[in-house]
């Protein structure tokens, strides 16, 4: 019994690891697709401001994600998906697109990726 339990824990950990790696891979593919579509940003050090006029100019699917993140301040793809009622993977893709476009910032803390517009000084 104890051996089975150990095996179960190990396989859960392994699956978690695979899921994690797949998510990271997904994010990297999103970045590559976006760069292919729009090219590398000229100066990624200067972020674009995510003001309301920019929000108005975004396509509907990205606007919903961006407005939700503005409301939450800082959030993971899970937090955003909870609000928008869309799949986590979908929100992760949109959030990463907004990062590439220069409107959001992303920070990894442990296994989780946090997205935000700007940190308060």
């Amino acid at each position: 019994m104890a051996v089975y339990k150990k095996l179960e824990v190990k396989s859960t950990q392994l699956l978690e690891k695979i899921k994690d790696s797949l998510e990271r891979l997904n994010e990297k593919i999103d970045v590559m697709i976006e760069i292919q579509k729009h090219g590398q940003r000229a100066n990624p050090e200067i972020p674009d401001a995510l003001d309301v006029m920019t929000l108005l100019s975004l396509p509907d699917h990205l606007r919903k994600t961006a407005v939700t993140l503005c409301k939450l301040g800082e959030a993971t793809a899970d937090n955003v998906a909870e609000q928008t009622k869309r799949a986590r993977a979908v929100e992760s893709g949109y959030l990463n697109q907004l990062v590439i476009m220069g409107y959001l910032k992303k920070e990894r803390r442990g296994r989780k990726a946090y997205f935000y517009v700007e940190k308060e000084a």
């Binding site: 929000l55 919903k64 700007e118």
Partner: protein, 258 residues
């Protein structure tokens, strides 16, 4: 949980401030705790209505990030409260402040949006206001779009003017719909004869519901008494039996159920 209501319009002079003030007073009369904020930084007016300069700080300071919202709010319950508490947040009417606010850059506007969005937590959750009413500037301006994004409900004040109707239709398509906002129309300054009978009234509502493709929450007749008061006092507070006050009572209930 309370609601944030933004009053907006395509054109100026539609009666946003008058309706914001009187709607706020109506909710206070009903025992609600209300906070009324002047977000018209280009033409501030609430300081004149409430005849107060008691605020330590202005809303401009809050958006500039130099103070928190509690430093801005003025408690006018003693002068204007009936059953509920009444607070106002004023925009700085000094010419220098107006000039400064109209020269803000995109980054500042982005931060201002963040500060406005955080009012939901500070005013509704922490300070337990039932309603926060935002009086905005007309048209597509940063401060008014920021207010719309921050609001739970948007009330669009329009008149029967053809250009106002066309502009409101455009804003519905290109602004309110894009932010998925619960939006209702307030037809203001309607000639009383148009609303003379129940049948006429129904015809009017049906027509403008289809014109704006949004619910007409209320058609408010043009009352000479209200114009005569000239904003020197809060009409719905003083003239409790006047048809204008009764119309606002009805509107307040409709918004509660909206």
């Amino acid at each position: 949980m309370g609601k944030i209501i933004a009053l907006h319009s395509y054109k100026g002079g539609t009666g946003k401030t008058l309706l914001s003030v009187n709607l706020a007073a109506t909710y206070v009369k009903k025992g609600k705790n209300v906070c009324l904020l002047d977000l018209d930084f280009r033409a501030p007016s609430l300081h004149a209505v409430f005849k107060t300069n008691n605020s330590e700080r202005w809303l401009n300071d809050y958006l500039n990030g130099v103070c928190e919202i509690d430093k801005v709010l003025v408690d006018v319950t003693q002068e204007h409260g009936r059953s509920g508490k009444f607070f106002v947040g004023l925009a700085n009417p000094a010419t220098e402040a107006i000039r400064e606010m109209s020269a803000k850059d995109r980054k500042w506007e982005m931060r201002a949006l963040g500060r406005l969005l955080s009012l939901k937590t500070s005013l509704l959750n922490d300070m337990h206001h039932d309603y926060v009413i935002l009086d905005t500037s007309p048209g597509l301006q940063y401060s008014s779009i920021n207010a719309i994004v921050s609001a739970d409900v948007v009330l669009v004040v329009t008149s029967l003017d053809a250009s106002d109707i066309k502009g409101t239709q455009r804003m519905t398509r290109e602004l309110y719909d894009l932010f998925d906002k619960k939006t209702g129309i307030l037809m203001n300054k309607v000639l009383p004869e148009i609303l003379s009978s129940k049948k006429e009234k129904q015809k009017f509502y049906k027509h403008f519901n289809s014109v704006h493709k949004l619910p007409i929450l209320e058609a408010i007749p043009c009352f000479c008494d209200v114009l005569r008061a000239g904003g020197t006092y809060i009409f719905s507070e003083e003239k409790t039996e006047h048809p204008f006050t009764k119309t606002l009572d009805k509107l307040a209930t409709k918004i509660e159920e909206f």
